[in-house]
């Protein structure tokens, strides 16, 4: 299990190890949800003929939802990129969010799915996004949040966190919409979604727990957390997500 990234500058190491061990896991988790979070993220975004940079693309799950775009995925994990390539998605290249391998003002759209909350140092990442975006370009981000959830979801998360001995699911970056506004972005839309994750098989429970960033949680606790989800079989657990669309002022 990777060490706990107690400081933001330790997140890159944690993420590298996490994704090397579990390449493609975020997509495996979210693609089982209803509605499909990737389709939801990109609905209404016009990309035909546009240069689209998928920042921290992972296994490139957004690729099928960007028809007609000139797509380029960038991720710091070779293992994630290998999954993307095996699925025929791309082009993808290895790179970090603070040194994107594209020219200034290249992108019409920067997509960032389930990553902006952990990319560090965030001011440098946003500066790099600003550099590669055209003046009229937009940033479209999918991030995990704490709402909306049903009452039953809340009870289940409370039990899950108690079993994991975690007060909450913490990330390196919080309050991203406010951060973007302070950084000079105009947030043009901010929507939330309860993506329903179906719990059917034992493997669904394990995938749910393994799909969380849980630094320094012992394996026994993760296993115990997956086990408590036994009683959820046949129902769904809500995964609260937010879609942010922002452009430069």
């Amino acid at each position: 299990m990777p060490d706990q990234p107690s400081r933001p500058d330790r997140w890159p190491t944690y993420l590298r190890e996490y994704h090397a061990q579990r390449a493609g896991i975020t997509e495996r988790l979210l693609q089982r949800c209803e509605p499909n979070p990737y389709a939801w993220l990109l609905e209404g975004i016009t990309v035909t003929g546009a240069n689209v940079l998928d920042l921290a693309c992972g296994s490139a799950p957004t690729f099928p939802h960007l028809p007609g775009a000139r797509y380029l995925g960038v991720d710091a994990s070779l293992q994630e990129l290998e999954v993307a390539q095996a699925l025929g998605r791309g082009p993808v290249v290895l790179g970090t969010a603070v040194t994107l391998p594209v020219p200034d003002c290249w992108a019409d759209v920067v997509v960032c799915s389930m990553a902006l909350q952990v990319l560090t140092p965030l001011p440098h990442v946003l500066a790099e996004v600003r550099r590669v975006l055209r003046p009229s370009g937009i940033l479209v981000a999918l991030i995990p949040v704490s709402r909306p959830l049903t009452f039953a979801d809340r009870r289940r998360y409370a039990r899950l966190l108690w079993t994991l001995r975690r007060p909450r699911l913490g990330y390196a970056n919080r309050g991203l919409s406010s951060v973007l506004r302070r950084d000079g972005w105009l947030v043009t839309s901010q929507d939330s979604l309860r993506a329903a994750y179906p719990v059917v098989h034992p493997s669904d429970r394990r995938l749910l727990v393994d799909g969380l960033y849980l630094p320094k949680v012992p394996e026994a606790r993760s296993t115990a957390a997956a086990a408590i989800a036994l009683s959820w079989t046949g129902s769904t657990l809500g995964i609260p997500l937010e879609r942010l669309v922002a452009r430069l002022k």
Partner: protein, 97 residues
């Protein structure tokens, strides 16, 4: 004509470039090909390596971008089909014609 593919190990595209070059240069006895791994930032600096994969034709980078810094990084090629992690087949065919 001598082709050299420079790369670093974690690059997801250098093997593809090698395969594409082998394909494009099949039956070309006038072309030889080799590879060169670049393993450290210092080495990248010394070689003027600006990204993986890099193709050298007789020691010259036909896709060189002035001002691009040397370093251990991936490289993006602007092809007729859009951005890519390696040059397109048609770009290579044109260069090696």
């Amino acid at each position: 004509m001598r082709l050299t593919v420079q790369y670093f190990n974690e690059c997801p595209n250098w093997q593809q470039l090698l395969d594409r070059l082998r394909d494009v240069t099949a039956n070309r006895s006038d072309i030889s090909m080799d590879t060169q791994a670049v393993e450290t930032a210092e080495e990248a600096e010394r070689l003027g390596f600006t990204g993986s994969p890099t193709l050298l034709i007789d020691g010259r980078d036909p896709f060189a971008e002035p001002g691009r810094p040397a370093g251990l990084a991936c490289r993006v090629y602007i092809t007729p089909d859009g951005p890519a992690g390696l040059p397109s087949r048609s770009q290579l065919e044109k260069l090696l014609a």
